[in-house]
């Protein structure tokens, strides 16, 4: 009996050892091969995984064909993790939100904004309210003072359209987060969840990305009797592609430019291009530069999200 127990411990130790050794040897060799550098692309995820996988496998294929380098999609589902991964060089080209893109560029000197969608140049958020809250649509930002004392939910804490800009417009009109019910807003974690918590009545008001709101309305996932838009924010710039500063160094001179033109070249005339643009919810990608996001940086600093 005792010998048996000892054998079990021994076997357990052996197994762990074998797994460690085997995984290290089998997984370790792959990504480190330096002879042909891999372009790692990543994204702030705001889609469901099935869509995200279709989107990024198509995009990887497209970029790989156009740039003739291997392209690998690395899923990251946490905003600060994506920023840090970009800074440490684990990701080369990332689809960032407005705020996270600025954070990433500030931490990675020399990083460059390459492109945005046509819709990103004039992006908006909407404030939605539960019908039972008694909040009526407002025509002007200064009526946001109606939100004082209400339960309000943002989306993710690092989201530009789900938190930063709505909070900025509120504060412009004299509503601080401390004026909300409970002294602080809630954070539902995502745009879709914001709709769910407002529609259910847990929160009275929510703020989210208008693009997501529209697609939810279109898919019939919103009950118009329970929740409706009360205000649309003025426009601002949002999502964009950011590239690491060392791409030219690693992939050859002019590579950053090549990536940019590859992105801009994606058009709905090819089947793959059509899929990509449809999944991105855009007609095309347009060029963008760092200075387009100066306003976002200023807002980020004002609200303490950029230090």
């Amino acid at each position: 009996m005792l010998v048996r127990e000892r054998r079990a411990v021994l076997v357990a130790c052996l197994l762990t050892g074998i797994t460690i050794a085997a995984t290290v040897t089998s997984c370790g060799s792959g990504p480190t091969g330096t002879e042909s550098p891999v372009l790692h692309i990543g994204a702030i995820p705001d889609q469901n995984p099935e869509k995200l996988n279709r989107l990024y496998s198509s995009l990887s294929d497209e970029l790989s064909d156009q740039l003739t380098v291997p392209v690998q999609y690395v899923p990251v589902s946490n905003y600060p993790a994506a920023v840090s991964a970009f800074r440490t060089g684990s990701l080369d080209l990332v689809w960032f939100g407005g705020l996270t893109g600025v954070q990433a560029r500030l931490q990675t000197p020399g990083a460059k904004v390459l492109a945005q969608r046509d819709i990103d140049a004039k992006f908006t958020s909407v404030f939605i309210a539960n019908g039972a809250s008694g909040l009526r649509p407002i025509s002007n930002g200064d009526q946001l003072t109606n939100l004082k004392g209400r339960r309000l939910s943002f989306g993710s804490e690092s989201s530009t359209s789900g938190r930063l800009m709505p909070q900025y417009f509120m504060s412009q009109n004299g509503v601080e987060t401390a004026d909300l019910a409970g002294g602080a807003p809630g954070f539902s974690g995502s745009h879709d969840a914001t709709i769910a918590v407002v529609q259910s009545g847990a929160y009275e008001v929510g703020a989210l990305n208008e693009q997501v709101w529209r697609s939810n309305v279109k898919d019939g996932r919103v009950d118009p009797n329970k929740v409706s838009v009360i205000w649309r924010t003025p426009t601002y710039v949002d999502y964009h592609w950011v590239a690491r500063p060392d791409l030219d160094e690693r992939f050859g001179n002019g590579f950053t430019k090549k990536v940019q033109s590859a992105l801009l070249k994606i058009s709905p005339t090819t089947p793959r291009g059509e899929t990509i643009l449809e999944l991105f919810g855009a007609a095309q990608f347009i060029p963008a530069q760092n200075s387009d996001y100066d306003k976002i940086e200023a807002v980020g600093r004002q609200l303490g999200k950029i230090r």
Partner: protein
């Protein structure tokens, strides 16, 4: 005769009052006294598991605190609750008595299998344990068998002074006789007993009453009334 263990004016709280005592080699001593008289305290002071609040204890002229672990090996105890390692087999328990004579590697090998089988069988024979029990887990043994394992472990330790705290309670007469014979085979021994009828097997009788040493004499010189007084209440 050389003095093995010397106690000078040793006290411990209310349990033992200023006691002086010398035990010499080749001296077999029995300790008598009613329950709560301080027998267990005295035994535990002698093996170092309790420290006196006053007084000093010396082993072969050396204070207890300065003994090396090899020197401490010379005092062996048969505890009333046996104190076997319940998770180990008979042979591993018996071998654990010899830890002091071996190194780390030996201790490891002892845990992995049967070690020093012959030496173990010899001591098992001495205490009348069947060899077939060698690999049995000690939890599967009867009370008497466990007592014999503890005794065999003590024999493996080969102490110069054997201490035992009521080793015969709850044993059948045959086992009790065997256990006592084995304990008396050590060069020196101090055994606490509830059995005044056995004092003739010892060379010296100590009597404790309310934490004080009140009797120290050869067994022939002790009268029945003295024994009765030792066990009388209040």
């Amino acid at each position: 005769m050389t003095a093995l263990l010397e106690l000078h004016q040793v006290s411990l709280d209310q349990r033992l009052q200023s006691t002086s005592l010398t035990i010499r080699a080749d001296e077999r001593v029995v300790l008598l006294g009613a329950s709560g008289a301080g027998k267990t305290t005295l035994i535990q002071l002698c093996n170092g598991s309790l420290k006196p609040s006053k007084g000093s204890i010396q082993w072969r002229g050396q204070p207890f605190a300065s003994l090396t672990r090899h020197q401490r090996r010379s005092i062996g105890t048969l505890w009333q609750d046996l104190r076997l390692v319940e998770e180990l087999s008979v042979v591993q328990n018996i071998n654990s008595g010899a830890l002091g004579r071996h190194g780390l590697l030996w201790a490891l090998r002892n845990l992995l299998g049967v070690l020093d089988k012959d030496a173990c069988l010899t001591v098992m024979d001495q205490v009348h344990l069947e060899p077939s029990l060698l690999n049995r887990a000690v939890t599967q043994l009867s009370g008497g068998q466990r007592q014999r394992v503890a005794l065999a472990r003590l024999l493996r330790q080969r102490p110069e002074l054997g201490l035992a705290d009521e080793p015969l309670s709850a044993l059948d007469p045959v086992i009790a006789r065997d256990v006592l014979d084995t304990l008396l085979s050590f060069p020196g021994c101090l055994i606490s007993l509830h059995r005044p009828d056995l004092i003739h097997r010892f060379e010296r009788v100590l009597g404790l009453r309310n934490g004080a040493l009140v009797l120290d004499a050869a067994p022939e010189t002790i009268s029945n009334s003295q024994l009765e007084w030792l066990y009388r209440r209040s």
